[in-house]
């Protein structure tokens, strides 16, 4: 197992390298460049050229990439073209809010979805099954911006229960309660989608397992329905559930672009949009790199969890 993990990490290095090359190329192929966005409109062409030269933007793309890579290997992500702060510092400031938002959303979504999925499977074709399945389709299909604007309209503008956006009240004390109040609506939106998706997987995977012979054996032993469902059946239906979790984890970093935009949540999603509009290459590259690392990590974690959940899976 340890060998397998080391091998996977070694494989991840060339993958990451490829990802950065592609990202760099795509970003540079996009029209516009950072200098156009930051220098004031009255600057002369000579001034623009001088700024470009100072930033190294007049060099061929591969030279620029090489310089970026050398810096990266020194642990230096560069500085933002637009705010001139070190990229590491900017990232640090935005990771926290996103991890908070997505972490809470994932947990809330799962805590609701997994028991509901189990109940639906146990009571297949009952009214509760129909209602939950209906809601889950709603959760999966409704666009986040639409649901986001909807809940803002109802709960923030009309009912005034929650703030319309941001993470803390401007000039407020930044207390837990304040943050919590700001979290509720975006979490509602995100958990709806995450939970809706999860319910379907839990239900179908549970249904599949409930028909298995070994559950009849468990029942023949005189076990209670609770143990049969939650010990014998749930363990067996975990594999598809783990797959979904593995796909969901990268959302922790990059998934909430639209929702963060709608709620002006100061996380990585919002940062991504800002960096794109200001052609802030260095920040964008750093975000991409982080996202790629997260995906690779999530995949590895998924494979490890498979082996934990199912003793028949061995990586050696």
């Amino acid at each position: 197992m340890l060998q397998y993990i080391i091998r996977r990490i070694l494989i991840a290095i060339p993958v990451l390298f490829g990802v950065t090359v592609l990202n760099f190329l795509i970003i540079n192929l996009a029209p516009g460049n950072p200098v156009d966005m930051m220098v004031n409109p009255s600057a002369t062409p000579a001034q623009l050229a001088a700024t470009k030269h100072a930033l190294g933007l007049d060099q061929p793309v591969w030279v620029q990439y090489w310089n970026w890579l050398v810096q990266l290997l020194h642990g230096n992500l560069g500085f933002s073209y637009s705010t001139r702060e070190p990229v590491t510092q900017i990232l640090m400031a935005h990771v926290g809010p996103t991890v908070l938002l997505m972490g809470v959303s994932l947990i809330v979504g799962y805590l609701i979805a997994i028991p509901l999925g189990i109940i639906c499977a146990r009571k297949q074709n009952s009214w509760i099954d129909y209602i939950v399945t209906g809601f889950s389709f709603f959760g999966i299909s409704v666009p986040h911006f639409f649901l986001g604007l909807g809940v803002i309209y109802v709960f923030a503008s009309k009912l005034l229960w929650f703030p319309t956006g941001s993470m803390n009240t401007l000039g407020g004390d930044g207390s837990f309660i304040d943050t919590f109040n700001h979290l509720v609506l975006p979490v509602l939106v995100l958990a709806t989608g995450i939970g809706g998706n999860m319910v379907r997987y839990v239900r179908s995977s549970m249904l599949d397992v409930l028909g298995k012979d070994y559950l009849r054996t468990a029942k023949a032993k005189g076990l209670s329905q609770f143990l049969i469902t939650n010990k014998h059946a749930l363990r067996n239906s975990l594999i598809p559930i783990i797959t979904v979790i593995g796909i969901d984890i990268p959302l922790l970093i990059g998934g909430a672009i639209v929702t963060e935009q709608v709620f002006q949540w100061p996380g990585l999603g919002l940062l991504t949009i800002q960096s794109i509009t200001s052609r802030d290459y260095s920040t964008l590259m750093a975000i991409n790199l982080l996202a790629a690392c997260t995906v690779l990590f999530a995949n590895l974690l998924t494979d490890i969890l498979y082996a934990v959940a199912d003793p028949r899976i061995r990586y050696d």
């Binding site: 012979d213 054996t217 032993k221 005189g222 076990l223 067996n236 003793p311 028949r312």
Partner: protein, 340 residues
């Protein structure tokens, strides 16, 4: 020996999309302590449904709608789920045909074995484990101390069936239901498992309902036999009478369809010409009518009942051909009752 189980005219129905389907109808037999009854009959005749009915392990759409299942004088047909939970695995336990899929792949052998032991015998965790190892040794599993922490996929089919037997017998049930326990195994392993079951039966005086297709297994294991056809018992008697003096035309057909009844290696049932009527359109009269060489006119319209005749042992038959003998038996029986 006292009566342990008395199944009386049970009817098991499944609610399907196309309406209710009766899979088992008027099935009756009884069983004493330590006795083994074999249920035989063609595929689909309701052997498994009968056994699952006793245990309340039918699919959710199925239930026993008529008749009674007296087990130690309690009627299981009317038992609640909570009552059944106390009986399952404790007083009655069951082993299934497919050892490869009957054990939970993600739980260790020990976990699955001790579950029932802890539940019914109230052993502590360590006591249960010790007892489980003992049980594994009893069913002939080598390296029991190691196997107990293994997962089922490490074991062969024969070994898994031994584990199933250990599990089924661990709480010393009074009745063991074995639904084709050897069908999925190689011939040599089959013989070993049957040997094991015989040995354990002698040690513990457990009554057994053994479902099988194989008349060789019947000859080997049974005290008595119930022959089933299309959801009904058509003949029930002790094993000697069944082989020496089978009466029902269906049983006779089964016997004839065996090429060499003297060759014990080749006693599997092959088929009789014709096919079983489907559960959806059961004939009004005798269900064997279409295939019966002795069919009479009244067999089409009237329904034969399962009735006893005078023979070496208790012997009951569902067929009009034996009506006179059945009547004689009834008369004698009635006289006996009067005189006593």
């Amino acid at each position: 020996m006292s009566e342990l189980l008395k199944v009386d005219k049970i009817k098991t129905e499944f609610q399907t999309d196309k309406g209710p389907v009766t899979s088992v109808d008027e099935v009756s037999f009884d069983l004493k302590e330590g006795e083994t009854i074999c249920l035989v009959g063609e595929s689909g005749c309701g052997k498994s449904v009968t056994s699952l009915s006793i245990m309340h392990l039918l699919d959710r759409n199925g239930s026993v709608t008529e008749g009674s299942i007296l087990f130690e004088d309690k009627d299981l047909a009317k038992a609640t789920e909570a009552q059944m939970r106390k009986i399952r695995g404790n007083d009655i336990s069951m082993i299934f045909q497919e050892p490869m899929t009957s054990l939970n792949p993600v739980l260790t052998i020990g976990d699955q074995l001790t579950e029932g032991i802890r539940l019914h015998m109230k052993y502590s965790k360590s006591e249960a484990k010790k007892y489980a190892i003992e049980m594994l040794k009893k069913v002939g599993i080598p390296r029991a101390e190691g196997i107990i922490d293994e997962y089922p996929h490490k074991l062969s089919g024969g070994m898994r069936q031994r584990v199933m037997i250990a599990m089924a017998l661990s709480c010393k049930p009074k009745l063991l239901i074995a639904d084709e326990p050897t069908t999925a195994l190689d011939v040599t392993i089959q013989a070993q498992i049957l040997e094991l079951m015989k040995k354990l039966r002698e040690e513990s005086n457990t009554a057994i309902i053994l479902i099988t297709h194989d008349l060789g297994v019947v000859a080997e294991m049974a005290d008595k036999v119930a022959v089933m056809y299309a959801g009904q018992v058509v003949e029930e008697t002790d094993v000697y009478t069944l082989f020496d003096n089978p009466k029902h035309p269906y049983t006779l057909g089964l016997m004839e369809s065996i090429p060499h009844i003297t060759n014990p290696d080749d006693m599997r049932l092959t088929s009789i010409p014709g096919s079983v009527p489907s559960a959806r359109n059961m004939p009004k009269g005798c269900r064997f009518y279409d295939r019966c060489p002795h069919a009479m006119e009244r067999c089409l319209a009237e329904k034969p009942e399962l009735k006893s005749i005078e023979d070496k042992q208790a012997h009951s038959i569902r067929c009009f051909l034996y009506e006179n003998e059945e009547k004689d038996y009834e008369k004698k029986h009635a006289e006996k009752e009067v005189s006593s």
